[in-house]
Subunit: 191 residues, 2 copies
DNA sequence: TCAATAAGATGCAAGAATGTATCTTGACGA
DNA sequence: TCGTCAAGATACATTCTTGCATCTTATTGA
Protein backbone atom coordinates (compact mmCIF):
# COMPACT_ATOMS: atom_id res chain seq x y z
CA UNK A 1 0.00 0.00 0.00
CA UNK A 2 1.21 3.47 -0.80
CA UNK A 3 -0.47 5.02 2.19
CA UNK A 4 -2.60 8.07 2.51
CA UNK A 5 -1.88 11.15 0.40
CA UNK A 6 -1.97 14.63 1.89
CA UNK A 7 -1.75 18.29 0.96
CA UNK A 8 -0.18 19.13 -2.39
CA UNK A 9 0.33 15.48 -3.31
CA UNK A 10 -3.32 14.76 -2.98
CA UNK A 11 -4.34 17.97 -4.67
CA UNK A 12 -2.27 17.21 -7.74
CA UNK A 13 -3.67 13.71 -7.96
CA UNK A 14 -7.17 15.14 -7.80
CA UNK A 15 -6.48 17.72 -10.50
CA UNK A 16 -4.97 15.10 -12.76
CA UNK A 17 -7.98 12.88 -12.27
CA UNK A 18 -10.23 15.83 -13.04
CA UNK A 19 -8.30 16.57 -16.20
CA UNK A 20 -8.63 12.99 -17.39
CA UNK A 21 -12.34 12.99 -16.70
CA UNK A 22 -12.65 16.30 -18.50
CA UNK A 23 -10.89 15.03 -21.61
CA UNK A 24 -12.76 11.75 -21.65
CA UNK A 25 -16.26 12.80 -20.69
CA UNK A 26 -16.29 16.50 -21.40
CA UNK A 27 -17.41 19.17 -18.98
CA UNK A 28 -21.04 18.16 -19.21
CA UNK A 29 -20.17 14.62 -18.21
CA UNK A 30 -17.82 15.66 -15.45
CA UNK A 31 -19.00 14.71 -11.97
CA UNK A 32 -17.37 15.15 -8.61
CA UNK A 33 -18.22 11.58 -7.91
CA UNK A 34 -16.31 10.26 -10.93
CA UNK A 35 -13.29 12.42 -10.18
CA UNK A 36 -13.22 11.26 -6.59
CA UNK A 37 -13.50 7.62 -7.59
CA UNK A 38 -10.83 7.98 -10.24
CA UNK A 39 -8.48 9.56 -7.73
CA UNK A 40 -9.25 6.79 -5.27
CA UNK A 41 -10.96 8.99 -2.74
CA UNK A 42 -14.41 10.34 -2.00
CA UNK A 43 -16.44 13.46 -2.69
CA UNK A 44 -16.01 15.28 0.61
CA UNK A 45 -12.29 15.55 -0.09
CA UNK A 46 -13.08 17.40 -3.30
CA UNK A 47 -15.71 19.54 -1.69
CA UNK A 48 -13.24 20.77 0.90
CA UNK A 49 -11.01 22.20 -1.85
CA UNK A 50 -13.19 23.41 -4.70
CA UNK A 51 -16.52 25.04 -4.90
CA UNK A 52 -18.03 22.96 -7.65
CA UNK A 53 -17.55 21.60 -11.13
CA UNK A 54 -16.51 24.88 -12.72
CA UNK A 55 -14.00 25.70 -10.03
CA UNK A 56 -12.47 22.26 -10.21
CA UNK A 57 -12.34 22.21 -14.00
CA UNK A 58 -10.62 25.58 -14.18
CA UNK A 59 -8.07 24.50 -11.60
CA UNK A 60 -7.42 21.32 -13.56
CA UNK A 61 -6.90 23.28 -16.78
CA UNK A 62 -4.56 25.70 -15.02
CA UNK A 63 -2.46 22.81 -13.83
CA UNK A 64 -2.22 21.31 -17.30
CA UNK A 65 -1.10 24.60 -18.78
CA UNK A 66 1.54 25.04 -16.13
CA UNK A 67 2.65 21.42 -16.39
CA UNK A 68 3.15 21.31 -20.14
CA UNK A 69 4.30 24.68 -21.40
CA UNK A 70 4.51 24.91 -25.17
CA UNK A 71 7.80 26.41 -26.24
CA UNK A 72 9.77 26.52 -29.44
CA UNK A 73 13.47 27.38 -29.29
CA UNK A 74 15.16 29.65 -31.79
CA UNK A 75 15.75 27.60 -34.94
CA UNK A 76 17.08 30.46 -36.97
CA UNK A 77 14.18 30.22 -39.42
CA UNK A 78 10.63 31.50 -39.10
CA UNK A 79 8.97 28.80 -41.20
CA UNK A 80 10.68 26.01 -39.30
CA UNK A 81 9.61 27.40 -35.97
CA UNK A 82 6.01 27.94 -37.04
CA UNK A 83 5.69 24.40 -38.31
CA UNK A 84 7.27 23.08 -35.15
CA UNK A 85 4.81 25.03 -33.03
CA UNK A 86 1.87 23.71 -35.00
CA UNK A 87 3.18 20.18 -34.73
CA UNK A 88 3.54 20.39 -30.98
CA UNK A 89 0.14 21.98 -30.62
CA UNK A 90 -1.37 19.15 -32.61
CA UNK A 91 -0.69 16.79 -29.74
CA UNK A 92 -2.92 18.92 -27.55
CA UNK A 93 -6.05 18.89 -29.63
CA UNK A 94 -7.98 16.58 -27.38
CA UNK A 95 -7.21 18.84 -24.46
CA UNK A 96 -8.23 21.95 -26.35
CA UNK A 97 -11.51 20.37 -27.31
CA UNK A 98 -12.07 19.42 -23.70
CA UNK A 99 -11.48 22.97 -22.58
CA UNK A 100 -14.12 24.15 -24.99
CA UNK A 101 -16.67 21.83 -23.51
CA UNK A 102 -16.28 24.05 -20.46
CA UNK A 103 -16.30 27.23 -22.52
CA UNK A 104 -19.64 26.29 -24.01
CA UNK A 105 -21.31 25.05 -20.88
CA UNK A 106 -23.80 26.86 -18.73
CA UNK A 107 -20.81 28.41 -17.00
CA UNK A 108 -20.87 31.30 -19.43
CA UNK A 109 -24.53 31.91 -19.11
CA UNK A 110 -23.95 32.37 -15.41
CA UNK A 111 -20.80 34.47 -15.45
CA UNK A 112 -21.64 36.16 -18.76
CA UNK A 113 -18.00 36.19 -19.73
CA UNK A 114 -16.65 34.85 -23.02
CA UNK A 115 -14.31 32.04 -24.04
CA UNK A 116 -11.93 34.77 -25.11
CA UNK A 117 -11.77 36.34 -21.69
CA UNK A 118 -11.44 33.05 -19.85
CA UNK A 119 -8.72 31.99 -22.24
CA UNK A 120 -6.86 35.23 -21.57
CA UNK A 121 -7.24 34.73 -17.84
CA UNK A 122 -6.00 31.15 -18.01
CA UNK A 123 -2.98 32.01 -20.10
CA UNK A 124 -2.00 35.08 -18.10
CA UNK A 125 1.54 34.75 -16.83
CA UNK A 126 2.36 31.90 -19.20
CA UNK A 127 4.72 32.19 -22.15
CA UNK A 128 3.19 33.10 -25.50
CA UNK A 129 5.02 30.85 -27.92
CA UNK A 130 3.60 32.26 -31.13
CA UNK A 131 4.30 35.85 -30.12
CA UNK A 132 7.90 34.92 -29.32
CA UNK A 133 8.36 33.27 -32.71
CA UNK A 134 6.92 36.23 -34.57
CA UNK A 135 9.11 38.60 -32.64
CA UNK A 136 12.17 36.65 -33.68
CA UNK A 137 10.91 36.68 -37.26
CA UNK A 138 10.69 40.44 -37.19
CA UNK A 139 14.19 40.74 -35.73
CA UNK A 140 15.59 38.52 -38.44
CA UNK A 141 13.89 40.60 -41.09
CA UNK A 142 11.70 37.71 -42.24
CA UNK A 143 8.54 39.56 -41.30
CA UNK A 144 7.57 43.08 -42.27
CA UNK A 145 6.40 44.52 -38.93
CA UNK A 146 3.81 46.78 -40.53
CA UNK A 147 2.06 43.73 -41.99
CA UNK A 148 1.66 42.16 -38.58
CA UNK A 149 -1.66 43.82 -37.81
CA UNK A 150 -4.00 42.26 -35.23
CA UNK A 151 -6.07 39.89 -37.34
CA UNK A 152 -2.88 38.66 -39.04
CA UNK A 153 -0.73 38.22 -35.98
CA UNK A 154 -3.18 35.77 -34.42
CA UNK A 155 -4.14 34.16 -37.72
CA UNK A 156 -2.27 30.90 -37.29
CA UNK A 157 -3.41 30.21 -33.78
CA UNK A 158 -6.94 31.17 -34.71
CA UNK A 159 -6.97 28.78 -37.64
CA UNK A 160 -5.49 26.04 -35.53
CA UNK A 161 -7.99 26.56 -32.74
CA UNK A 162 -10.85 26.68 -35.19
CA UNK A 163 -9.77 23.40 -36.70
CA UNK A 164 -9.45 21.79 -33.29
CA UNK A 165 -12.90 22.97 -32.31
CA UNK A 166 -14.58 21.81 -35.48
CA UNK A 167 -13.01 18.41 -35.92
CA UNK A 168 -11.73 17.34 -32.49
CA UNK A 169 -8.73 16.08 -34.43
CA UNK A 170 -5.19 17.35 -35.06
CA UNK A 171 -4.66 19.06 -38.40
CA UNK A 172 -2.81 16.81 -40.85
CA UNK A 173 0.72 17.93 -41.76
CA UNK A 174 -0.31 19.05 -45.25
CA UNK A 175 -2.86 21.38 -43.78
CA UNK A 176 -0.36 22.84 -41.36
CA UNK A 177 2.04 23.45 -44.23
CA UNK A 178 -0.73 25.07 -46.26
CA UNK A 179 -1.57 27.41 -43.38
CA UNK A 180 2.03 28.50 -43.15
CA UNK A 181 3.04 28.55 -46.83
CA UNK A 182 -0.21 29.45 -48.57
CA UNK A 183 -1.71 31.79 -46.05
CA UNK A 184 0.45 33.18 -43.30
CA UNK A 185 3.88 33.68 -44.83
CA UNK A 186 2.62 35.35 -48.03
CA UNK A 187 0.79 37.88 -45.86
CA UNK A 188 3.69 38.93 -43.68
CA UNK A 189 6.80 38.22 -45.75
CA UNK A 190 9.08 41.19 -46.08
CA UNK A 191 9.76 41.71 -49.78
CA UNK B 1 -58.66 32.96 -26.84
CA UNK B 2 -56.81 31.78 -29.87
CA UNK B 3 -57.87 28.19 -29.40
CA UNK B 4 -55.94 25.01 -29.50
CA UNK B 5 -53.09 24.59 -31.94
CA UNK B 6 -52.61 21.40 -33.92
CA UNK B 7 -50.21 19.63 -36.24
CA UNK B 8 -47.74 21.81 -38.12
CA UNK B 9 -48.88 24.99 -36.40
CA UNK B 10 -48.11 23.58 -33.01
CA UNK B 11 -44.89 22.02 -34.13
CA UNK B 12 -43.56 25.31 -35.44
CA UNK B 13 -44.51 27.09 -32.25
CA UNK B 14 -42.67 24.43 -30.27
CA UNK B 15 -39.56 24.67 -32.43
CA UNK B 16 -39.54 28.44 -32.17
CA UNK B 17 -39.85 28.21 -28.42
CA UNK B 18 -37.02 25.68 -28.36
CA UNK B 19 -34.85 28.01 -30.44
CA UNK B 20 -35.46 30.90 -28.09
CA UNK B 21 -34.63 28.77 -25.08
CA UNK B 22 -31.51 27.53 -26.83
CA UNK B 23 -30.27 31.03 -27.60
CA UNK B 24 -31.09 32.34 -24.15
CA UNK B 25 -30.07 29.46 -21.92
CA UNK B 26 -27.74 27.46 -24.11
CA UNK B 27 -28.01 23.75 -24.73
CA UNK B 28 -26.95 22.87 -21.20
CA UNK B 29 -29.75 24.99 -19.78
CA UNK B 30 -32.33 23.74 -22.23
CA UNK B 31 -35.13 21.76 -20.61
CA UNK B 32 -38.19 20.18 -22.10
CA UNK B 33 -40.15 21.71 -19.28
CA UNK B 34 -39.07 25.26 -20.13
CA UNK B 35 -39.76 24.80 -23.82
CA UNK B 36 -43.20 23.42 -23.10
CA UNK B 37 -44.02 26.25 -20.73
CA UNK B 38 -42.72 28.85 -23.16
CA UNK B 39 -44.85 27.40 -25.91
CA UNK B 40 -47.83 27.36 -23.59
CA UNK B 41 -48.19 23.62 -23.47
CA UNK B 42 -46.85 20.67 -21.49
CA UNK B 43 -44.06 18.11 -21.73
CA UNK B 44 -46.01 15.16 -23.06
CA UNK B 45 -46.73 17.15 -26.22
CA UNK B 46 -42.99 17.47 -26.78
CA UNK B 47 -42.30 13.88 -25.89
CA UNK B 48 -44.72 12.71 -28.58
CA UNK B 49 -42.66 14.46 -31.25
CA UNK B 50 -39.02 14.37 -30.27
CA UNK B 51 -36.87 11.88 -28.56
CA UNK B 52 -35.08 14.18 -26.16
CA UNK B 53 -33.11 17.39 -25.84
CA UNK B 54 -30.69 16.67 -28.65
CA UNK B 55 -33.39 15.67 -31.09
CA UNK B 56 -35.43 18.74 -30.29
CA UNK B 57 -32.46 21.11 -30.47
CA UNK B 58 -31.38 19.80 -33.86
CA UNK B 59 -34.90 20.14 -35.21
CA UNK B 60 -35.05 23.70 -33.90
CA UNK B 61 -31.76 24.57 -35.56
CA UNK B 62 -32.89 23.01 -38.82
CA UNK B 63 -35.97 25.17 -38.78
CA UNK B 64 -33.99 28.33 -38.18
CA UNK B 65 -31.67 27.57 -41.07
CA UNK B 66 -34.57 26.93 -43.38
CA UNK B 67 -36.45 29.99 -42.16
CA UNK B 68 -33.68 32.51 -42.57
CA UNK B 69 -31.47 31.58 -45.51
CA UNK B 70 -28.40 33.75 -45.91
CA UNK B 71 -28.05 34.94 -49.47
CA UNK B 72 -26.12 37.67 -51.19
CA UNK B 73 -27.19 38.73 -54.69
CA UNK B 74 -24.75 39.51 -57.46
CA UNK B 75 -23.38 43.00 -56.81
CA UNK B 76 -20.90 42.93 -59.63
CA UNK B 77 -17.99 43.20 -57.20
CA UNK B 78 -16.33 40.54 -55.10
CA UNK B 79 -15.31 42.79 -52.22
CA UNK B 80 -18.76 44.30 -51.88
CA UNK B 81 -20.40 40.91 -51.77
CA UNK B 82 -17.97 39.52 -49.21
CA UNK B 83 -18.48 42.45 -46.88
CA UNK B 84 -22.23 42.18 -47.30
CA UNK B 85 -22.12 38.51 -46.43
CA UNK B 86 -20.08 39.18 -43.31
CA UNK B 87 -22.41 41.94 -42.28
CA UNK B 88 -25.47 39.76 -42.61
CA UNK B 89 -23.78 36.92 -40.79
CA UNK B 90 -22.94 39.27 -37.95
CA UNK B 91 -26.59 39.44 -37.05
CA UNK B 92 -26.56 35.70 -36.47
CA UNK B 93 -23.75 35.49 -33.97
CA UNK B 94 -25.94 34.77 -30.99
CA UNK B 95 -27.54 31.92 -32.87
CA UNK B 96 -24.19 30.54 -33.94
CA UNK B 97 -22.95 30.61 -30.39
CA UNK B 98 -26.08 28.83 -29.28
CA UNK B 99 -25.54 26.11 -31.83
CA UNK B 100 -22.07 25.55 -30.47
CA UNK B 101 -23.42 25.01 -26.99
CA UNK B 102 -24.98 21.92 -28.56
CA UNK B 103 -21.82 21.03 -30.47
CA UNK B 104 -19.85 20.98 -27.25
CA UNK B 105 -22.32 19.16 -25.11
CA UNK B 106 -22.29 15.53 -24.11
CA UNK B 107 -24.05 14.89 -27.42
CA UNK B 108 -20.72 14.38 -29.14
CA UNK B 109 -19.37 12.08 -26.53
CA UNK B 110 -22.34 9.86 -27.17
CA UNK B 111 -22.49 9.97 -30.94
CA UNK B 112 -18.72 10.40 -31.37
CA UNK B 113 -19.26 12.66 -34.33
CA UNK B 114 -17.74 16.13 -34.70
CA UNK B 115 -19.09 19.68 -34.94
CA UNK B 116 -17.84 19.62 -38.51
CA UNK B 117 -19.93 16.63 -39.47
CA UNK B 118 -23.05 17.86 -37.75
CA UNK B 119 -22.60 21.24 -39.38
CA UNK B 120 -22.34 19.58 -42.76
CA UNK B 121 -25.43 17.52 -42.06
CA UNK B 122 -27.41 20.56 -40.95
CA UNK B 123 -26.44 22.62 -43.96
CA UNK B 124 -26.98 19.86 -46.50
CA UNK B 125 -29.45 20.96 -49.13
CA UNK B 126 -29.16 24.61 -48.18
CA UNK B 127 -27.51 27.28 -50.31
CA UNK B 128 -23.82 27.97 -49.68
CA UNK B 129 -23.60 31.74 -49.90
CA UNK B 130 -19.83 32.06 -49.69
CA UNK B 131 -19.24 29.41 -52.33
CA UNK B 132 -21.61 31.22 -54.65
CA UNK B 133 -19.82 34.53 -54.15
CA UNK B 134 -16.42 33.01 -54.77
CA UNK B 135 -17.67 31.32 -57.89
CA UNK B 136 -18.84 34.64 -59.24
CA UNK B 137 -15.49 36.15 -58.33
CA UNK B 138 -13.72 33.51 -60.37
CA UNK B 139 -16.04 34.08 -63.33
CA UNK B 140 -15.40 37.81 -63.21
CA UNK B 141 -11.68 37.21 -63.14
CA UNK B 142 -11.29 38.78 -59.71
CA UNK B 143 -10.03 35.55 -58.24
CA UNK B 144 -7.24 33.35 -59.53
CA UNK B 145 -8.84 29.88 -59.36
CA UNK B 146 -5.55 28.14 -58.65
CA UNK B 147 -5.18 30.20 -55.48
CA UNK B 148 -8.51 29.04 -54.15
CA UNK B 149 -7.13 25.96 -52.43
CA UNK B 150 -9.08 24.35 -49.55
CA UNK B 151 -7.73 26.22 -46.55
CA UNK B 152 -8.10 29.51 -48.42
CA UNK B 153 -11.57 29.01 -49.85
CA UNK B 154 -13.06 28.56 -46.38
CA UNK B 155 -10.81 31.12 -44.74
CA UNK B 156 -13.36 33.88 -44.30
CA UNK B 157 -16.09 31.71 -42.90
CA UNK B 158 -13.59 30.00 -40.64
CA UNK B 159 -12.35 33.30 -39.26
CA UNK B 160 -15.86 34.54 -38.79
CA UNK B 161 -16.95 31.38 -37.01
CA UNK B 162 -13.88 31.42 -34.84
CA UNK B 163 -14.59 34.97 -33.79
CA UNK B 164 -18.21 34.17 -33.02
CA UNK B 165 -17.17 31.20 -30.92
CA UNK B 166 -14.55 33.06 -28.95
CA UNK B 167 -16.36 36.29 -28.23
CA UNK B 168 -20.08 35.55 -28.53
CA UNK B 169 -20.22 38.94 -30.26
CA UNK B 170 -20.41 40.11 -33.87
CA UNK B 171 -17.11 41.20 -35.38
CA UNK B 172 -16.86 44.99 -35.62
CA UNK B 173 -16.89 46.44 -39.14
CA UNK B 174 -13.19 47.30 -39.06
CA UNK B 175 -12.35 43.71 -38.34
CA UNK B 176 -14.52 42.47 -41.18
CA UNK B 177 -12.81 44.89 -43.53
CA UNK B 178 -9.41 43.73 -42.30
CA UNK B 179 -10.34 40.12 -42.95
CA UNK B 180 -11.32 40.93 -46.49
CA UNK B 181 -8.71 43.53 -47.43
CA UNK B 182 -5.69 42.47 -45.38
CA UNK B 183 -6.10 38.74 -45.49
CA UNK B 184 -8.45 37.20 -47.99
CA UNK B 185 -8.24 39.36 -51.09
CA UNK B 186 -4.42 39.56 -51.15
CA UNK B 187 -4.33 35.77 -51.10
CA UNK B 188 -6.65 35.12 -54.01
CA UNK B 189 -6.42 38.26 -56.13
CA UNK B 190 -5.59 37.55 -59.73
CA UNK B 191 -2.66 39.71 -60.69
C1' DT C 1 4.67 9.20 22.27
C1' DC C 2 0.54 11.62 21.63
C1' DA C 3 -2.59 15.08 20.25
C1' DA C 4 -4.24 17.67 16.32
C1' DT C 5 -5.52 17.60 11.72
C1' DA C 6 -7.11 16.10 7.56
C1' DA C 7 -8.12 11.94 4.75
C1' DG C 8 -11.46 8.73 3.63
C1' DA C 9 -16.07 6.08 4.15
C1' DT C 10 -20.88 6.28 4.43
C1' DG C 11 -25.56 7.73 4.63
C1' DC C 12 -29.38 10.77 3.85
C1' DA C 13 -32.17 14.52 2.21
C1' DA C 14 -32.90 17.77 -1.45
C1' DG C 15 -33.37 19.30 -6.06
C1' DA C 16 -33.72 18.96 -10.92
C1' DA C 17 -35.13 16.79 -15.02
C1' DT C 18 -37.15 13.00 -17.50
C1' DG C 19 -40.35 9.29 -19.05
C1' DT C 20 -44.71 7.64 -18.82
C1' DA C 21 -49.49 6.82 -17.70
C1' DT C 22 -54.02 8.66 -17.17
C1' DC C 23 -57.73 11.69 -17.86
C1' DT C 24 -60.28 15.59 -19.66
C1' DT C 25 -61.34 18.64 -23.34
C1' DG C 26 -61.19 20.88 -27.59
C1' DA C 27 -60.99 20.71 -32.84
C1' DC C 28 -61.51 18.63 -37.15
C1' DG C 29 -63.63 15.59 -40.57
C1' DA C 30 -67.05 12.27 -42.23
C1' DT D 1 -73.95 16.58 -35.57
C1' DC D 2 -71.07 13.36 -33.64
C1' DG D 3 -67.10 10.37 -33.20
C1' DT D 4 -62.20 10.26 -33.27
C1' DC D 5 -57.81 11.80 -32.25
C1' DA D 6 -54.57 14.68 -30.44
C1' DA D 7 -53.81 18.58 -27.25
C1' DG D 8 -53.23 19.81 -22.69
C1' DA D 9 -53.17 19.03 -17.48
C1' DT D 10 -51.63 16.37 -13.79
C1' DA D 11 -49.35 13.00 -11.17
C1' DC D 12 -45.96 9.55 -9.98
C1' DA D 13 -41.77 6.89 -10.06
C1' DT D 14 -37.00 7.08 -11.49
C1' DT D 15 -32.49 8.66 -12.08
C1' DC D 16 -28.61 11.47 -11.31
C1' DT D 17 -25.93 14.60 -8.80
C1' DT D 18 -24.97 17.39 -5.08
C1' DG D 19 -24.39 19.28 -0.19
C1' DC D 20 -23.96 18.20 4.36
C1' DA D 21 -23.25 15.67 8.54
C1' DT D 22 -21.03 12.02 10.96
C1' DC D 23 -17.64 8.82 12.11
C1' DT D 24 -13.32 6.33 11.76
C1' DT D 25 -8.46 6.24 10.83
C1' DA D 26 -3.94 7.46 9.23
C1' DT D 27 -0.21 10.85 9.23
C1' DT D 28 2.34 14.58 10.87
C1' DG D 29 4.72 17.45 14.10
C1' DA D 30 5.62 19.01 18.78
Amino acid sequence: MKGRRRGADLEEALLDAAWLELTERGYAGLTMEAVATRAGTSRPVLARRWDGKADLAIAAIRRQIAKHPLEVPDRGDLRTELLELLEHASNRVRGIAAVFTLFFSEYFHETSSTPQSLRTALLAGNPQPLAAILERGVKRGEIAPEKLVPPVSTLLSDLFRHHAIMTFAPPPPELRVAWVDSIFLPLVRAD
